[in-house]
């Protein structure tokens, strides 16, 4: 299949005008600028795991960020991932689609190391994460933003505290936490509800807080596992729009979803899975399953 040039569709729902994430990202940099630069350098240098040479040289236009090499994962007799080999590139937006049991969630759990593959390697930013020890997992997970279908907010903490917690556990100073969290909440439109608890928010609002928490570390990868599964259509499109804008600011977004409309509207790379294998990989794809 010829590689199609990626262009933005002017009539797609995702191109509706709204808050500029790029503008706010610059604002973040301006507020925390000097403090942020050394932190980003530390994050890059502190990526845990053994450095691995890539099989092929990445092109300068599309640097390789994530690579699955012959990854297999089995639960008893059921093969969830069957010798998967696939590459994800820096800054791209891709959707992983497939029927229930196709292996989408398993793929994501292996990438976040909630599950360890039975064989194969997973290379993230040049490091083989399958070799990470349990004690290194917290440091890896701070580099990867995760958005869950069931939100997974801490119920006894406010919106502000939920987002701040992600920074507190990494030892970030209090003053820097305050500025970063406030900017991030403003980005997702939840600053006015900073003192509310999760049970006081709607599903869409909770998911926004989850996205803010996922982004507050400025990760290179944002993984969203069925983020709109529990949301109504209005909130669904708001979340998708937010993810699209996050991607435009440079963060790679991996979206696992069942929603045909979202996938078809985005016109981004679509990886289709079935029975633990990749059956299609389209640069500007549609929902095939």
């Amino acid at each position: 299949m010829p590689e199609e040039k990626v262009t933005e569709q002017p009539d797609s729902p995702a191109s509706k005008p709204g808050k500029s994430v790029e503008g706010l990202t610059k604002k973040v940099a301006a507020k925390v600028g000097k403090a942020a630069r050394p932190l980003f350098k530390k994050v890059k240098d502190a990526m845990p795991g053994k450095e691995v040479e890539p099989i092929e040289d990445p092109t300068p236009l599309r640097p390789l960020l994530v690579e699955f090499r012959d990854v297999t994962k089995q639960y008893g007799n059921h093969i969830a991932l069957n010798n998967i080999s696939i590459k994800f590139y820096k800054g791209e937006f891709l959707s992983i689609v497939g029927p229930s049991g196709a292996g989408k969630s398993t793929l994501i759990k292996c990438l976040t190391l909630q599950e360890r593959p039975d064989s194969g390697r997973i290379i993230v930013a040049g490091r083989d994460i399958t070799l990470l020890k349990d004690r290194d997992l917290p440091y890896y997970r701070r580099k990867v933003g995760i958005v869950f279908q069931d939100f997974k907010l801490l119920p006894a903490k406010t919106v502000y505290e939920n987002v701040a917690f992600a920074l507190e556990v990494s030892g970030t100073p209090g003053r820097e936490i305050k500025s970063r969290v406030e900017v991030m909440l403003e980005t997702v439109g939840m600053l006015s509800k900073r003192n509310n608890f999760p049970h006081e928010l709607s599903g869409g609002e909770q998911q926004r807080v989850v996205i803010a928490r996922a982004l507050v570390h400025d990760p290179k990868i944002l993984i969203a596992d069925e983020p709109t599964g529990n949301l109504d259509p209005v909130n669904t499109w708001e979340i998708v729009e937010l993810l699209y804008k996050i991607n435009k600011s440079g963060t790679m977004v991996i979206l696992a979803t069942h929603d045909r409309e979202i996938v078809d509207a985005l016109k981004k790379r679509v990886v289709t899975m079935r029975a633990g294998t990749v059956v299609a990989d389209q640069e500007k794809g549609v929902y095939l399953v």
Binding site: L137, P138, Y139, R142, I146, K152, L153, A156, E168
Partner: protein, 316 residues
């Protein structure tokens, strides 16, 4: 330091924001500490009573030969007093022995006036009371030495050896049984606390999972639960100590009253040697001792239970 203060803050925050779970844990732990306290006080009372009975019933009387000189008598007295197993030594003169004989037999007029100071066959004696009645046989070996044969006529142990040994053996068995009984009930109470804290942490397992997934290390996950456990222990200890103090003060008031009858009198007699010593109240020192036991028990129990309960949810 920063991360320590954060963990401390999370623990206090978790305690406040899961208030009902915290209250249940505190109630359960308080009841456990009161159980431990009850058995500790019971053990103290039993020990004191045992010592009382032992000192009344188990003393060693050394009857002195009439031919022994005062010098030999005083030397024997000094040596007995210096023995480590001997708590107190009392001297009974021939005259004291006569008075005691008449008092013991005051219901028998025919025996009154039979013994006079000029015609007193009753020997003078040295009465030894022991720190631990079980050391009576050691003392007997000492007194039976050849060097005292010229001074010592006879001892009370010779007549009562078997019954004394049986009594000591019986009380030893009773104490072992009491200790087993105590451990059994304390173990039940500990298991109840463990289960309560496990359930409380089970209710928050999703919270632990989320903390893992956002990159919190085990210190940040386990730490706050340990802080909460410490808070449970401290608050439970304070409540338990207050209740114990009120109870001991009431018992002390009962002991001081001279007109108490019935159950009150029985309680007063049972606790008299525990809450008072030589007329002085021992309630404060006893309470401090019980507070220390409760605090240590509570801290060990609550923190260990918290650590064990969280551990299963930390595994990757």
């Amino acid at each position: 330091m920063n991360s320590f203060l954060r963990v401390l803050g999370y623990g206090v925050q978790g305690f406040r924001r899961n208030l009902w779970l915290s209250v249940i844990a505190i109630i359960t732990l308080t009841m456990t500490l009161l159980t431990i306290t009850a058995f500790t006080v019971g053990d103290i009372v039993a020990t004191k009573k045992y010592q009382e009975f032992s000192q009344d019933k188990i003393d060693y009387v050394v009857y002195i030969q009439d031919s022994a000189s005062d010098q030999d008598f005083n030397a024997l007295y000094d040596q007995i007093k210096a023995r480590p197993e001997v708590q107190t030594v009392t001297v009974v003169s021939k005259s004291d022995a006569r008075i005691k004989f008449e008092q013991d037999h005051k219901d028998q007029p025919v025996l009154q006036g039979l013994i006079t100071d000029d015609n007193n066959p009753l020997p003078r004696s040295i009465v030894a009371h022991f720190v631990d009645p079980n050391s009576i046989s050691v003392f007997n070996t000492f007194i039976s030495a050849d060097r005292y044969k010229g001074v010592v006529d006879s001892t009370s142990y010779k007549d009562n050896a078997t019954s004394i040994d049986n009594y000591l053996h019986f009380t030893k068995i009773l104490r072992i049984f009491g200790l087993f009984f105590t451990c059994f009930f304390v173990l039940i109470a500990v298991l109840v606390v463990l289960n309560t804290i496990r359930l409380a942490i089970f209710a928050r397992r999703t919270e632990i999972e989320v903390m893992r997934l956002v990159g919190a290390t085990q210190r940040y996950i386990r730490g706050p639960f340990i802080v909460e456990g410490i808070l449970f222990a401290v608050i439970s200890t304070l409540i338990s100590t207050i209740l114990t103090g009120i109870m001991l003060q009431q018992i002390d008031n009962l002991v001081q009253q001279t007109t108490v009858t019935g159950l009150g009198n029985q309680i007063a007699q049972l606790f008299s040697s525990t809450v008072r010593m030589n007329g002085v109240s021992e309630v404060t020192s006893l309470l401090l001792y019980l507070f220390a036991i409760q605090l240590i028990s509570g801290l060990v129990l609550a923190t260990m239970c918290s650590m064990l309960a969280v551990r299963r949810y930390l595994k990757e």
